[in-house]
């Protein structure tokens, strides 16, 4: 399997990783937090715990959400009411499960793209490893 530069970096950083079962590695993961619905499926499928659901919520995710969505409706209502820009993330009570910001840690991400396949809101893109011809040759 040809490895991208990023894929090789991942392998060097995490030598115990086996390439045998994976179909891809070293994808560039691009998260669109404004589309995220906070379901946490990316955190559930992530093999390296690079995605994790935390007990805090960034209110800007409501204000930036697209207008047709549920979060967008909340954002529209909040925009009518707000007197200033949100001051930092808010702590989320235990029983509120979806209004949580997902943390993404690029340092431990393998770039396998499992999160992008699992995401129901198309909020995560896994860009295929770009293989430069010179890199394949080496």
């Amino acid at each position: 399997m040809p490895l991208s530069r990023r894929g090789r970096e991942v392998l060097e950083r995490l030598p115990q990783v086996s390439l045998a079962g994976g179909s891809a590695l070293g994808c560039d993961i691009v998260r669109h937090d404004e589309l995220c619905v906070g379901c946490g499926r990316c955190a559930a499928v992530c093999p390296s715990d690079a995605n994790s659901q935390r007990e805090r919520f960034d209110v800007n995710q409501l204000l930036d959400a697209p207008p047709g969505s549920r979060r967008g409706a909340l954002g529209t209502a909040l925009r009518r009411l707000q007197r200033r820009a949100p001051d930092g993330p808010v702590a989320v009570p235990a029983r509120v499960t979806t209004y949580r910001t997902i943390d993404y840690d690029a340092a431990v991400c393998l770039g396998c793209g499992a999160c992008a396949r699992a995401c129901p809101a198309q909020a995560i893109e896994a860009l295929a490893p770009r293989v430069a011809p010179a890199e394949v040759a080496t």
Partner: protein
């Protein structure tokens, strides 16, 4: 049947005029009360049967359980016309659907924190609990909410 001559139904008493004006101010204020069918709405019903006067500002919304309340209900009510939103459910541990009132309480807390983070008074959204056999407690909750909201500066909407 003719009315007795001394009953004047057209010209209001001069002393009644300020009362009418304050009633108009009260009418401009609005509180939405999301009530669960099992406890709070039953208490509201009994309180109405007992002819307990409620503040004219309150509007009741019947829900099967307060667990149905979503942050969107609370924020949309405020963004629409309400100055305060109250969620009234069963006593802790007595929810007829086991844990709906705990879910509602956490959503109320979440909305309070979101409101506080954008500079809106979090007291505008509150959770109350009562049993079906406590109509005075429902009336007291509504009066308390009404008093608290009346003390706040008007809610500006853009």
């Amino acid at each position: 049947m003719r009315l007795p001559a001394q009953v004047d139904r057209v010209t209001p008493d001069a002393s009644a005029v300020p009362a009418v004006a304050s009633r108009a101010a009260e009418r401009r204020r609005a509180i939405v009360a999301f009530c669960c069918r099992e406890c709070a709405y039953a208490a509201a019903d009994a309180s109405a049967n007992a002819r307990t006067p409620l503040p004219p500002t309150v509007r009741l919304v019947l829900l099967p359980c307060t667990g149905r309340v979503s942050p969107l209900h609370l924020l949309e009510a405020l963004a629409g016309d309400a100055d305060g939103v109250m969620v009234a459910g069963c006593l802790e541990g007595q929810c007829h659907y086991r844990e709906g009132n705990f879910n509602a309480l956490d959503r109320v807390l979440f909305v309070q924190r979101v409101l506080a983070s954008v500079g809106v008074e979090p007291e505008r959204v509150r959770m109350f609990t009562m049993s079906a056999g406590e109509p005075p407690r429902f009336a007291a909750a509504v009066r308390e909410m009404d008093r608290a909201v009346a003390a706040l500066p008007p809610l500006s909407r853009s």
